[in-house]
C-alpha cells in the first residue's frame, strides 16, 4: 500500500462554515480523484487519501503523479498540499505539516515524521496541552520518550495514533464508493449576469465531472445545468449529446452556444450541474489509421451536438419513409440517425423531390397534364381521409409539378409538389 495524502487548507469562502456543503464538495473531489486510482478515501473535513501503488507507473512516478493531482485540484479552484507515504496516516500528517514529502519506502519514515508538530495530530486539546507540559512539541519528541511513561502520562490513545502513523498497526480505510450520478454545484463569489464568468464557474464543474466520468469509465449523454438566481429559482439549460462525451473543452463550447441564446431570469448566484446517465465511451485506439477513422466517426455526433446547442433540438432532424398511402404521411421526421435504416418500399407512381408543407390551391394557370391519374384513396379509418387523383403537370415556364384534383366536394385542383 502506498498512500497519497491530500490536504486542502482553504475551502472556498462560500462553503466554509456550511458542514453539509463541505462534505458534499469533498465527496465530489473524491469522485474526481477516481481518475487516478480506484481506491480513494475522504478524510473529513478537508482531506483525501488516494491509494496509488498501482498508479505510479501509469502517471510517470511519484513526483509526476503528485504534481498532476495538485495541478488538477488547482484547476478545480482548490489549493492543495500533497505527500506520499506507505501508512495512510503518515501521508495525511506529512501533507498537513511537510507537503511535498514523497516516501515510497518505510525506511526513512520515522526520520521524516520527526519534525511534524504535535498540533498536526488529531487528538484531544487536553492531550496536546499535556504534551506541551512535558516539552514534547514534535512527533520526534514523542517517539524519543519511553513508551510506558508516555502511555501513563498522556494515555494509550496517543500511542495508537503514533503506531498507526508509523505503520506498526493496521489502519484500514473505508474506500469511497462512486455515486451512481454526478451532482455538482458551485456557489459564485458574487452574483453574475454575463456569460463569461458563468462559463468560468461551469468549467470547474466540467473538470470535476471529467474526473468522475473517467473514474466511471464512461461519458455523459445529457448535462442538466441549473443557474440559480436570488431567491432560489433557477434557469434550466439542458445540453443533450449525440454520443457519450466527457472532454471539458467541448462540453463548455456547447454550453456557451446555449447560454448565448438563453435569457437568464436574473443574475446567477449558484451554478449546478447534474448528469444522470453514463454510457461507456468508445476507447480511443492508438493505431493511427484507426484513430483517424474513429475521429471521423466522432465528427458526426459532435456536429449534431453543436447544431442542437445553438439551434435547439427541434431544428435538427432526420427523415424516414413511412408506410402510408397519403403523400403527406409517407414520411416521418425523426432524430438524425446514427445508423442504417431498411429501405422503404417504392411508391406506386412518380413522386416529386419537393413536397409542399401543405397542398396549395392552384390558381387558374395553364397546366399541361403529362402523366396520371394516380388515384390515392386512404385514411378513412382515422378521419384524415383523402380521395384524390394525382397528375404530373407542366406549367408554361417548364416547371414540372405534382398536382391533384379532389374526387369529392368541389373537385378543386391543388399543387402538392415540385419535381425540382
Amino acid at each position: 500500500m502506498l498512500w497519497l495524502g491530500i490536504h486542502l487548507p482553504r475551502f472556498s469562502a462560500e462553503v466554509v462554515g456550511d458542514a453539509a456543503a463541505m462534505s458534499a464538495a469533498l465527496a465530489r473531489l473524491a469522485g474526481w480523484a477516481g481518475r487516478f486510482t480506484p481506491v480513494v478515501s475522504p478524510v473529513p473535513p478537508r482531506e483525501l487519501l488516494l491509494e496509488v501503488a498501482g498508479s505510479l507507473r501509469l502517471f510517470g512516478g511519484p513526483d509526476r503523479l503528485a504534481a498532476r493531482v495538485v495541478e488538477g485540484l488547482r484547476d478545480l479552484g482548490y489549493t492543495a498540499a500533497a505527500a506520499l507515504a506507505p501508512p495512510p496516516l503518515a501521508a495525511t500528517l506529512l501533507a498537513r505539516a511537510r507537503p511535498g514529502t514523497l516516501l515510497t519506502q518505510r525506511g526513512t519514515l520515522e526520520r521524516e515524521l520527526g519534525p511534524v508538530p504535535v498540533s498536526a495530530l488529531d487528538v484531544a486539546p487536553e492531550t496536546l496541552a499535556a504534551l506541551r507540559g512535558i516539552g514534547a512539541g514534535t512527533l520526534g519528541d514523542c517517539l524519543r520518550l519511553p513508551r510506558a511513561g508516555l502511555a501513563r502520562r498522556i494515555g494509550t490513545d496517543l500511542l495508537r495514533v503514533l503506531d498507526r502513523a508509523l505503520g506498526r498497526i493496521p489502519d484500514p480505510r473505508e474506500p469511497f464508493v462512486l455515486p451512481p450520478r454526478y451532482e455538482g454545484c458551485l456557489v459564485l463569489p458574487a452574483a453574475v449576469a454575463s456569460v463569461e464568468p458563468l462559463l468560468f464557474a461551469a468549467r470547474r464543474l466540467l473538470l470535476e465531472l471529467e474526473g468522475y466520468l473517467e473514474a466511471r469509465g464512461g461519458g455523459a449523454v445529457a448535462l442538466a445545468w441549473t443557474l440559480r438566481h436570488h431567491g432560489g429559482h433557477g434557469t434550466r439549460v439542458e445540453v443533450g449529446l449525440a454520443a457519450p462525451a466527457r472532454e471539458p473543452g467541448r462540453l463548455l463550447k456547447l454550453l456557451r452556444e446555449r447560454l448565448e441564446r438563453t435569457r437568464l431570469a436574473g443574475p446567477v448566484e449558484v451554478v449546478e450541474l447534474a448528469v444522470e446517465q453514463i454510457l461507456p465511451l468508445v476507447p480511443a485506439n492508438l493505431d493511427l489509421w484507426q484513430a483517424r477513422a474513429a475521429q471521423s466517426g466522432q465528427a458526426w455526433p459532435e456536429l449534431l451536438d453543436r447544431l442542437r446547442a445553438r439551434l435547439g433540438a427541434a431544428a435538427v432532424q432526420g427523415l424516414r419513409p413511412a408506410a402510408d398511402h397519403r403523400p403527406e404521411r409517407a414520411f416521418v421526421r425523426t432524430e438524425p440517425s446514427l445508423g442504417e435504416q431498411p429501405a422503404p418500399s417504392p411508391a406506386p407512381g412518380p413522386r416529386p423531390l419537393w413536397l409542399l408543407s401543405a397542398p396549395m390551391a392552384l390558381p387558374a394557370r395553364r397546366l399541361t397534364l403529362v402523366a396520371g391519374p394516380e388515384r390515392i384513396e386512404s385514411g378513412w379509418w382515422d378521419g384524415a381521409d383523402v380521395q384524390r387523383d394525382y397528375f404530373v403537370a407542366e406549367d408554361r415556364g417548364g416547371l414540372r409539378l405534382w398536382v391533384f384534383r379532389e374526387r369529392g366536394g368541389e373537385r378543386h385542383w391543388f399543387l402538392h409538389g415540385i419535381f425540382g
Binding site: S296, L319, F331, R351, E394, L399
Partner: protein, 191 residues
C-alpha cells in the same frame, strides 16, 4: 444514372452521374472541398434533379447530406426512389439568415457530411468566403442555391451555374468556372 457516365472524373471532383454535365464542368464533375453556386430561374427548375445522382452516390458510400433551410421538404419517397437513402439526410431548420450560414459552415467544416446544400436568405461575399474555407477544410461538396439575379454580382464560389427548365430536362450555363464562362449544355433529367 440518367444518361450514363462520361470519362472518369479528374482529381478533386465527384461525377455528376450525367455525361453531358460532366463534360460541361471544369474537372469533369462537382468540385470537392469547394462551393458551387446554383442559380435557377425559379425554385424547382431542375436544380435538385441535377444533384440527385451525385447525392445518391454519396449516400451509397454512407456519406451524409445536410440540407440547410430548403424551400420545401425534400420528399423521402422521391429521394429513396432516386437512390438517396433518407437515413443519410440531415435536415436543419436554422431559420434566421445568420444561423443558416453558421449551420452550413459547421456542416462543411466538420467533414461529417458528403454534401451540404444551403438556401441562404442573403449571402454577402464575406460569408461566402467563410463557406468556401469551411468546404476546403471539410473536403465535401458545398452547394449554394440563390436567385438568378445574384449572377450579376461577382462571387468567390469556385463554380457558378445558371439553370432554366427545358422540356424533359434543364439547360445549364456556366457563369463562372475554370475554363471560362458562357458554356452551355442541356441535361436530360429522367423522371
Amino acid at each position: 444514372m440518367g444518361d450514363g457516365r462520361g470519362a472518369a472524373p479528374g482529381e478533386g471532383v465527384v461525377s455528376t452521374g450525367r455525361a453531358s454535365l460532366d463534360d460541361l464542368l471544369p474537372g469533369g464533375g462537382w468540385p470537392l472541398g469547394a462551393m458551387t453556386e446554383i442559380l435557377p430561374v425559379s425554385a424547382g427548375a431542375g436544380e435538385l434533379g441535377l444533384l440527385v445522382p451525385a447525392l445518391a452516390d454519396l449516400s451509397r458510400q454512407g456519406r451524409r447530406i445536410a440540407w440547410i433551410d430548403p424551400p420545401h421538404l425534400p420528399y423521402p419517397p422521391a429521394l429513396a426512389a432516386a437512390g438517396v437513402a433518407p437515413s443519410r439526410v440531415l435536415l436543419v431548420c436554422a431559420g434566421a439568415g445568420r444561423d443558416r450560414l453558421w449551420a452550413a459552415e459547421q456542416c462543411l467544416r466538420s467533414g461529417a457530411c458528403g454534401a451540404v446544400l444551403l438556401w441562404p436568405q442573403e449571402c454577402d461575399n464575406q460569408s461566402l468566403r467563410r463557406l468556401q474555407l469551411a468546404a476546403e477544410k471539410g473536403g465535401g461538396l458545398g452547394f449554394l442555391f440563390r436567385a438568378q439575379r445574384a449572377a450579376a454580382a461577382p462571387s468567390p464560389a469556385a463554380l457558378r451555374l445558371r439553370l432554366a427548365p427545358t422540356p424533359g430536362g434543364v439547360a445549364v450555363e456556366v457563369v463562372k468556372g475554370r475554363g471560362g464562362s458562357g458554356r452551355r449544355a442541356e441535361v436530360r433529367l429522367a423522371g
